[in-house]
Symmetry: C2
Subunit: 550 residues, 2 copies
């Protein structure tokens, strides 16, 4: 038997695109002599469809499109992900299902058992879990059809809360009793830089435990905040990786099952450095945000600092230099090198830039406030006016020319509120909102790996918001190395303050940082969508109460 793994880039709700992709893939697989094509979870509507799943017509469209796909399945079968109606008199109205299409029709349906409802996942909001397990019989093979989380039953909790398991059932243990020959898994598992090794471990251990060949097909592509890396894999019955599909790109490959059962003949070596992965993930995230929203060009404010420099390089690579434009918006507080560094970067990339000095408009606004703020002194009020005035000018260009504004704030700033709401937080998409400042520097190094694109001075000078004379970030914040370590342990590892530790970290700093994180929940509430590359990003996956004391 030949099995084709189809790692494709789906667009939520874009049935025409998704179905075309699926049908074309089935046709070419048939030409290759494949018996079965496996697509990813909810491939027909795209993942995650969120509350579109609450619209009857949306589900009906899925069924209509399944019928279209089924007509392609002659002489070849397909496993395609889509929601299905729960016909029982009670329970959630839908299942998250794998449709088995064969002989021109929907031949069978298998439902997902484990419904992730944590972090960015809300599956119990929509779906009823499967409770009775069945096996797919096709061309003399017994296939255990599983969907994503169904293989993740043995994962522990994420934090130091408990070491117990999240699920009370193990779908593969149940299915194993039915004597399958193969495990197939339809996935939509988003990228998180620190979880790549864990995913491989889960799949290889699962195959080894059941001594069965395993085919995992994951979605690839960006859908708003979420970036799916693909990285689909085939594991042999000993738990060794037989093959895997390159990440961050569409890949379709056909395997001879008997070869997979014989076992892997080579060793795959995976790099340990997360930075190239984050780099590629962000580029895919930007590219798909624009492509799927039908936007072409972007815009950002280039300050001469490291964040906007890195964001620009990523966006220019994702969208093309010709589709980027930047504004330099110096004020009386900007240092000379800010403008020259920024100009040099724009010229290195060949990106169109304009310079608008904001001093006059800033003074005009201050003037108009004079009678009310008689005791006006330079404080955060004035700093925020500058940041917001820049946002007005950037958004004016966006409104006039259609370039989408990118926010260039990083995760460290977002965490402690070192950014201005309606100012530098503005934008349709936050490129670096899940990247700690230390990793922004690493990304800059990676971008410059072949030649200096980002001028060295941008990387080496001390970070400053330049909103008042001689300002430096460290006037207000701990050194980024220390700050980022505290943030990582508190946000991603969800450690209690008392358990956070590391070189140079004191109890006072922990207290100060955590208090800043908590106090700035209200700002992040209004932040743009953040491209998620960690296991815990701000936004949808981290739901803190806004009006609370803690």
């Amino acid at each position: 038997m030949k099995i084709t793994a189809a790692q494709l880039n789906f667009h939520v709700g874009n049935f025409d695109r998704n179905v075309k992709l699926i049908c074309e893939t089935i046709r070419s697989a048939r030409a290759e002599g494949s018996d079965l094509v496996v697509f990813s979870e909810l491939s027909v509507p795209g993942y995650p469809p969120h509350d579109l799943l609450e619209q009857r017509e949306f589900i009906e469209k899925c069924y209509q499109n399944l019928e279209v796909i089924a007509t392609e399945c002659k002489g070849i079968a397909a496993l395609v992900g889509a929601p299905s109606f729960n016909e029982a008199p009670a329970g959630k109205r839908l299942y998250n299902s794998a449709f088995f299409l064969n002989e021109g029709r929907i031949a069978d349906i298998f439902h997902k058992s484990l419904l992730p409802t944590y972090d960015i996942f809300d599956e119990f909001r929509y779906f009823e879990p499967l409770k009775e397990y069945r096996i797919l019989k096709y061309r003399n093979k017994k296939i255990a059809v599983t969907i994503c989380e169904d293989l993740w039953d043995e994962q522990g909790f994420d934090n130091d809360f408990s070491s117990s398991r999240l699920y009370t059932v193990s779908p593969m243990d149940e299915l194993a009793r039915l004597g399958p020959d193969i495990i197939i898994n339809l996935s939509a598992s988003p990228f998180s830089a620190t979880r790549v090794e864990e995913k491989r471990r889960i799949f290889t251990e699962k195959a080894a435990k059941h001594r069965l060949p395993l085919f995992v097909v994951n979605q690839v592509g960006g859908n708003a905040e979420l970036i799916f890396e693909g990285g689909s894999m085939v594991v042999d019955p000993s738990g060794k990786i037989y093959d895997w599909l390159e990440s961050f790109t569409e890949q379709v490959r056909t395997y001879d099952l008997s070869e997979v059962i014989k076992g892997a003949s080579k060793d795959f070596v995976f790099g340990k450095d997360h930075i190239p992965l984050i780099h590629d993930a962000l580029i895919l995230g930007i590219k798909d945000y624009f492509g799927k929203m039908n936007f072409k060009s972007a815009l950002l404010g280039l300050s001469g600092g490291i964040d906007s420099a890195v964001a620009l390089c990523l966006a220019a690579e994702a969208l093309g230099n010709n589709n980027m434009r930047v504004l330099l918006l110096p004020s009386m507080y900007s240092s000379g090198h800010s403008v020259t560094d920024a100009v040099k970067l724009a010229e290195n990339l060949g990106v169109h830039y304009d310079i608008i000095n904001i001093s006059d408009s800033f003074n005009s606004i201050r003037e108009s406030l004079h009678t009310i703020m008689k005791d006006y002194s330079e404080d955060a009020t004035g700093e925020n006016i500058q940041a917001r005035l820049r946002s007005i000018l950037l958004m004016a260009l966006s409104n006039k020319f259609g370039n989408i504004l990118l926010s260039t704030s990083n995760k460290s700033e977002a965490a402690v509120g070192y950014s201005t709401l309606y100012g530098d937080m503005s934008g349709g998409l936050s490129v670096l909102g899940d990247v700690y400042k230390s990793d922004v520097y690493r990304l800059a190094g990676y971008i410059n790996r072949k030649k200096e694109i980002i001028p060295g001075n941008i990387i080496t000078k001390p970070p400053s918001a330049e909103l008042r004379p001689h300002q430096q970030d460290t006037d207000t914040l701990p050194e980024y190395q220390i700050l980022d370590e505290i943030l990582y342990q508190y946000i991603e590892l969800q450690r209690s303050p008392g358990k956070i530790n590391g070189k140079g970290i004191t109890g006072d700093t922990i207290k100060k940082v955590i208090s800043m994180i908590n106090l700035n929940e209200f700002k992040r509430f209004q932040a743009p969508p953040v491209l998620r590359i960690s296991s815990k990003a701000f936004g949808y996956g981290r739901r803190m109460p806004l009006v609370a004391k803690y």
Copy 2:
């Protein structure tokens, strides 16, 4: 037996406040000779604690505080809501529980069975459902302890998706087998103007079905977007309301169980008009947002239009006239009556106002954009600059004086994107973001019910954003009466476009409106928290994909 219903206003994470309230209530109930005090769901941490439930120390604080409360329970018992650890080796790490405190200790624990995971509810994110039912025995009475949703098993789905039931279990059917004498329900059920009658129906039918007295204790108070109305009630075994606690205020009342069993002696008549409820809910929502965030004073831009007028009246009533200030920010496009109407309103209320004409700063910004936008013509770009410039000035005052900016956009505008991101959408809280324009007018009428506070001209003149000469809302939008009917059916009833109908509604208008709703998802993504008064508000409870085609 005497039972005390304690409808109190809890603050998420504010253990000192919550525990003080609980302990004081237990002491006064004991003085009244009560046997049992019932508090609302998750009363110890406050509802909803969201992801604070993922922090071990937060749960441990709940336990520590339960011990403190238990020491008050001598000669009297209490049912208090708090999370409890799930000690099983697998499953979600917590239960949503009712702790029975008696004789100075935690005497028993009962868990919630039905975990709402839809709209604004995410309970399956945190909690394991109860599967084995038990009864509480106390002073010769058998008590069925249920938590909120546990009594809602017979509700249908919200939309035309299906008429089947959401849950496969009925906790009260299970508990009824154990022969209880009383049903008690600890609730945290947020206000929704159109659901008030339904709640009463659910409780009275449940009591009647089981022929048992029912005590429902609901939380009261605002917690960010969510407003809990209280409206706790006691139902006699025939299903008649024996008594209920006034909405939107803290209430504690003790009942003699034997009297309740004898039956209600009077009929309660409830008004049908939702407007007074919405009015009171919004005032409580504003008051608690400020009180619980430790903010005192607010600020808004008073345009002379109906939305800012109504928002001001509500905020002034919630916070006190002395704690409000307003800015009038006319431009060259503002009509004379805008300023005079706004001034008259501010004077009627005795609220401090300032006037800043934005024309100079607006011109200065246009000037600075001139070289880039050589072909500059008056279009949405200029309109947005005005709205954003107003936001800069308002936020400057907020930063300088500490007044929190209120956004005054209504739900109709938010739906179709008739507002400027980083402009009039700015603010810490959106007062009217869940109120349709038609209801804003009704609220204005209600505010003026005793005397004219809002000048008549504000109510009668045609709505206009005044961002260009002679602009009126109807240049861009359908009449609000028609718009609001389409919005209500699409958003709240979740009707398919083809099923939306009503007087004057055409297929073209439906198509246009729904397309505007879908296209403006990106704006609402960055909107401030919205006080929720409907069954489906924008924000947390409506999770639409951002990058999708539909």
